[in-house]
């Protein structure tokens, strides 16, 4: 037989049924099936949970429009929010949310990028040993603590500085700035560290200065990663409820300036959700706010993916 000639010692003198031998299940194949089964089960449960959440929020959120017959356009552009009187203009909250989000991102980004450059290019050792743990600690502080500090420190400070109550978009921006700073910083650090070392070497070997190398080569190569970091920071700011609610003043009116009470989608949700009855317009209107939040976070996610894809293209060799 073939297999004896290849040096195998055959213990069985009976001719083997090779077709059967090579087809039957062994421990190895059963292990594979078991492992695959478990992972399918887990992913199945997760898909089910996510899908039902999406369906739940969507169905509740559109009830305002289908059941209470509110006009979508009026909901998005109306400026008068008093759902218990049938007035459901959500624009003040939408504007409030975008205002604090963009303001926080704009203020935080230069600080975050500066810190990240310091941590990776200027003092990489101290960056890794001291700054990294500190910043990671900041990410882990619960938002209620940030809110509390905002309420105890920032709001009185603003009151002193510009008068009024101290509650408002600028206080919320300040609190969110501190909250998104570590997020943007850590992700920027990651993207700076991912820039191939040879870009830096090539630039230095050509006589470019350290600053030219950082600003024109390293930051340039890390741009997609930094944009992703900013968007993640914005997503966090957009979705933050508690800390914002504590310092923004929660007045559902069009914000006329940065220092008078305003409100955001999230702060309105957390303030209002306990006072409404399931199935009524005030309750449904809050679900519609939640739907807007959900759509926005989907949008942020999509944006991150598009940028990541673009980034990959520019690094392809």
């Amino acid at each position: 037989m073939e297999q004896t000639s290849s040096g195998f010692k055959q213990e069985d003198t009976q001719p083997k049924d090779w077709a059967q031998q090579l087809h039957h299940a062994t421990r190895a194949t059963r292990e594979d099936w078991f492992g695959r089964g478990i992972s399918y089960l887990c992913i199945g449960v997760i898909i089910l949970v996510v899908a039902s959440m999406l369906w739940f929020i969507t169905s509740k959120g559109i009830a305002t429009f289908t059941h209470n017959h509110v006009n979508v356009g009026q909901f998005l552009t109306g400026t008068n929010w008093a759902p218990d009187q049938g007035k459901t203009g959500a624009l003040p909250m939408i504007i409030g949310s975008f205002a604090v989000t963009f303001a926080a991102a704009i203020v935080a980004t230069p600080f975050a990028v500066g810190t990240a450059i310091f941590m990776t290019e200027i003092a990489p050792k101290r960056g890794r040993k001291v700054l990294q743990p500190v910043i990671e600690l900041l990410v882990g502080i619960p938002s209620v603590v940030y809110g509390f500090i905002g309420l105890a420190v920032v709001v009185p400070f603003m009151r002193h500085l510009v008068g009024g109550s101290g509650f408002g978009i600028i206080s919320a921006t300040f609190v969110l700035f501190v909250m998104v700073l570590p997020t943007i910083t850590t992700m920027t650090v990651d993207s700076l560290r991912a820039v191939p070392r040879f870009y830096k070497e090539a630039s230095l070997a050509l006589g470019a200065t350290r600053w030219q190398t950082v600003s024109r080569v390293i930051l340039r190569a890390a741009t997609p990663g930094i944009l992703t970091a900013i968007i993640f920071g914005m997503a966090r700011a957009f979705g933050e409820a508690l800390a914002v609610q504590m310092v923004i003043g929660n007045a559902a009116i069009m914000p006329k300036n940065l220092i008078s009470p305003a409100s955001t989608l999230t702060s309105q949700l957390t303030t209002g959700i306990g006072d409404t009855i399931d199935g009524t317009l005030p309750n449904n209107a809050l679900w519609s706010l939640a739907l807007i939040l959900l759509l926005m976070s989907l949008f942020f996610n999509a944006l991150v993916r598009i940028i990541a894809k673009r980034g990959q293209l520019s690094h392809e060799r």
Partner: protein, 267 residues
Amino acid sequence: MLKDYSFDQTAVQTFDDHVALALKTEDLQVYYGNNHAMHDANLAFPKNQITALIGASGSGKSTYLRSLNRMNDTIATVTGKIWYHGVDINQPDVNIYEIRRHIGMVFQRPNPFAKSIRENIIYALRATGIKDKKVLNQRVEQSLKGAALWDEVKDTLDKSALALSGGQQQRLCIARSIAMEPDVLLLDEPCSALDPISTVKVEETLLELQKKYTIIIVTHNMQQAARISSQCAFFHLGHVMEYAPTATMFSTPKIQVTQDYVSGSFG
């Protein structure tokens, strides 16, 4: 097993005063922390010649090369003197950016920026403050011609440099260096990532370039050293063992370790 060759017996050539030198090192030592990676390197490089640095992996030739334009500054401690135009450039008060503009470097792995071919070349020129478009374009053409790449890329200057082949990328890196109009060009195994045809092209380019520049090239490939270099230095475990005209080195090496290395019976 590696034979125990004595480091006491070395044969390093020196040059007469009438030979014009581009660069010279005196008792150059390199330490990575406690690791003494380069011992007493005393080498002089004649102008407008190609000098090859050969030796096994870990012999210190790349370490030595990177010290010459201070690229080791942040990684290693380099002591000793590096003479360039009568100035010891291994001093802390020397402007390293200025040095690197005069002593260019090309790396083992082609490392163009993720920019267009044109941008790759004018990046460093812009960094030195040249803004005139005419001058920039002229330099782009000159340097690409110098690196024998012009004919292949003249119609695609604004396409990404990453779309080029490995050999073309490496010649672009050479073009990028010579666009700075340096005196000395350091090359760290520039052909080790290239196929034989691209290698021949790079070698032809270097032979042409030695008319204008002094070239110091680290190579693993002894045939390459024999083909293109005039002078050749053999490194072994962090020591310069022999330095001689290439023809002499390969035909009649003076010491045993070189003999063994060039004949292939090393170790």
